[in-house]
């Protein structure tokens, strides 16, 4: 279905949202359903132009609830699918995000975060949906969310989001922000043959009477047959057994929900990605992500010039959270500094993993702009003192 010539290999000077769309296309995405919303609209714009050129489908839906449903349906039809949105739209997608988790439907949601609550700051950045990404849908589940900090990472992480969604069968989130989405930088798109793609595993047996569409493999992920391939299947948001039939009992719930969580937890080492810079021997480690990771670096350099040993743990995946790494660092450093464009969200995870071994200092900012690096610098100095 996808051809090498569909991938725009080469060097480009493009914004983050455009890069995200190209990452999706390089990953094999051929279906986009969405409702335009600032500051994510360029993703939809790009997809609306590109998908028809390469045999894909673009649909502008009536709203975000329908958008989320449409990408789940497309995925069951065998096509890699995505949507893109921001704050208010992300809230509307939360219910059907849960449907995607429960029905184990590979798909990708890009949230280019803007200031909230409510309609908030349509044109200005925040990072305030990171806990909503984790807990926003009702029920108990584990999720995967990636946090790009540049147009190059918008390309790379969107591509990876597709691979993870196909590998672990769930909707994977890319949590960007207005600044990264609208920032323009060089993006290198590798040759198509150099891009590693993971496509959902298919059932090894041909269709038969006893087919169990939700029977997991050893990695806890069930192989996935597409609709129309002859397999009998039943797909529901209700708690179900391996046949996909609703079973409303505690036993069925325990079996299913445990597995949905465990398939992420058991494979978390494969999923979690961090970029560590100069953390060896550091007294202070700045834990940050997205645009805040870039702002932090300015402060880190300034602190280093003043003699403070400070490094950075940049969270490339927010969920699952890199518990082991943060716990290990907590035993070695004086403290963590956590700048984020919200009033305190990922800091709770850092604090939880630090478990009193070291200090955790939040540098909050309600959004609308990046931190002043001076505020981060002051926090680093305070923790180092």
């Amino acid at each position: 279905m996808s051809r090498a010539s569909d991938v725009l290999s080469g060097e480009h000077f493009i914004n983050g949202n455009t890069a995200s769309a190209e990452g999706a296309i390089a990953a094999g995405c051929r279906f986009f359903a969405g409702y335009p919303i600032t500051p994510s609209t360029e993703v939809a714009e790009r997809m609306s132009r590109r998908l028809p050129q390469i045999g894909g489908t673009f649909i502008q839906m009536e709203d975000e609830l329908a958008s989320m449903c449409a990408i789940l349906g497309a995925s069951w039809g065998g096509v890699k699918s995505m949507t893109a949105t921001s704050g208010p739209g992300f809230s509307l997608m939360m219910e059907n995000f849960g449907l995607g988790v429960m029905t184990e439907t590979p798909s990708v949601i890009v949230n280019v975060m803007r200031g909230g609550p409510s309609t908030g700051l349509p044109t200005l950045a925040a990072q305030a949906d990171v806990m909503q990404a984790r807990w926003g849908t009702h029920g108990s589940c584990d999720v995967i969310a990636l946090a790009p900090s540049s147009p190059q990472e918008m390309f790379d992480f969107t591509l990876r989001a597709f691979n993870l969604s196909e590998r672990y069968r769930l909707p994977v989130m890319v949590l960007s922000d207005e600044i990264v989405g609208h920032m323009t930088e060089k993006v290198v798109i590798p040759p198509a043959e150099g891009i590693e793609l993971f496509d959902r595993r298919k059932p090894s047996e041909p269709p038969s009477e006893g087919y169990l569409p939700f029977e997991p493999g050893p990695d806890l992920v069930p192989p996935m047959a597409n609709a129309g391939e002859g397999y009998h299947m039943h797909v529901t948001g209700l708690t179900h057994d391996e046949r996909g039939y609703p079973i409303i009992t505690a036993a069925a719930q325990t079996k299913l929900v445990r597995r949905l969580c465990e398939k992420i937890r058991q494979n978390s080492r494969d999923i979690i990605a961090c970029t560590e810079m100069e953390t060896d021997g550091a007294e202070v480690v700045v834990v940050s992500y997205g645009i805040s990771a870039r702002t932090s670096w300015k402060a880190i350099r300034a602190a280093q010039r003043g003699g403070v040993k400070v490094g950075q743990l940049k969270l490339d995946t927010l969920w699952p959270f890199p518990e082991e790494r943060v716990r290990a660092l907590a035993g070695k450093v004086r403290g963590f500094v956590v700048p984020e464009l919200n009033m305190g969200q990922m800091v709770y995870e850092v604090e939880r993993c630090a478990a009193g071994q070291c200090r955790t200092r939040l540098v909050p900012h309600p959004g609308g702009e990046t931190h002043d690096p001076a505020d981060i610098l002051a926090a680093i100095r305070e923790v180092a003192a």
Binding site: F13, T184, I291, A302, R305
Partner: protein
């Protein structure tokens, strides 16, 4: 702390912060994109473009910030611009005061009245819009401005800039745009 400077007040070698500003519809963002692309793809340096504009499609304040550096650029926002290309009075009023003391400012001679300016700033006045009318179309005033920018700033090579203009403008408009670029380049060179 200005993020653009080392703590000792020194700027990293080759580090430039450029502000393009005017009103929506003048092609300010496109100008920033062409300049950033020239530095990034054709001069092989690092460049980042950020933009800001109001909700209006035309007429609102509009600005593009471009940082060019040989080092990796972390903080992406222009905070202490050493170079400003100004195409409206409102933009001059809004952004003018932020220019560095030894900065370079080029304004549209007919659209901007320079009232107050930091001492030490080098100021050039080039009639971008009037020159674009001479080429035939006011729509290329931003490309005239880029010609002037290339002539006086030294931030991007002439060759890279020409390549970037050609790689960005719509097919069939190359000749018009190159004429506009040359007009601006020559007019600014004559002032040096």
């Amino acid at each position: 702390m200005s993020p653009a400077f080392h703590e000792d007040g020194r700027r990293p070698e080759g580090y430039r912060e450029i502000r393009f500003a005017g009103f929506g519809g003048q092609g300010i963002i496109l100008a920033g994109l062409i300049a950033g692309k020239a530095a990034s793809l054709f001069d092989g340096r690092n460049a980042v473009l950020t933009e800001s504009y109001g909700p209006e499609a035309r007429g609102g304040a509009c600005s593009a910030g471009v940082i060019i550096s040989d080092e990796k650029i972390f903080y992406p926002h222009v905070s202490a611009p050493d170079t400003m290309m100004i195409m409206s009075q409102e933009a001059f009023k809004t952004y003018g005061p932020a220019i560095t003391a030894d900065g370079l400012m080029v304004v549209d001679a007919d659209l901007v009245t320079v009232s107050e300016l930091k001492k030490g700033v080098r100021l050039y006045k080039v009639p971008f819009t009037a020159l674009s009318e001479e080429v035939g179309k006011r729509i290329v005033a931003n490309i005239v401005m880029l010609g002037a920018f290339t002539a006086v700033s030294g931030a991007v090579s002439l060759e890279a800039m020409k390549k970037s203009v050609l790689a960005t403008v719509p097919k069939g408009t190359e000749e018009l745009n190159m004429k506009a670029f040359q007009k601006g380049f020559d007019a600014a060179k004559a002032l040096l």
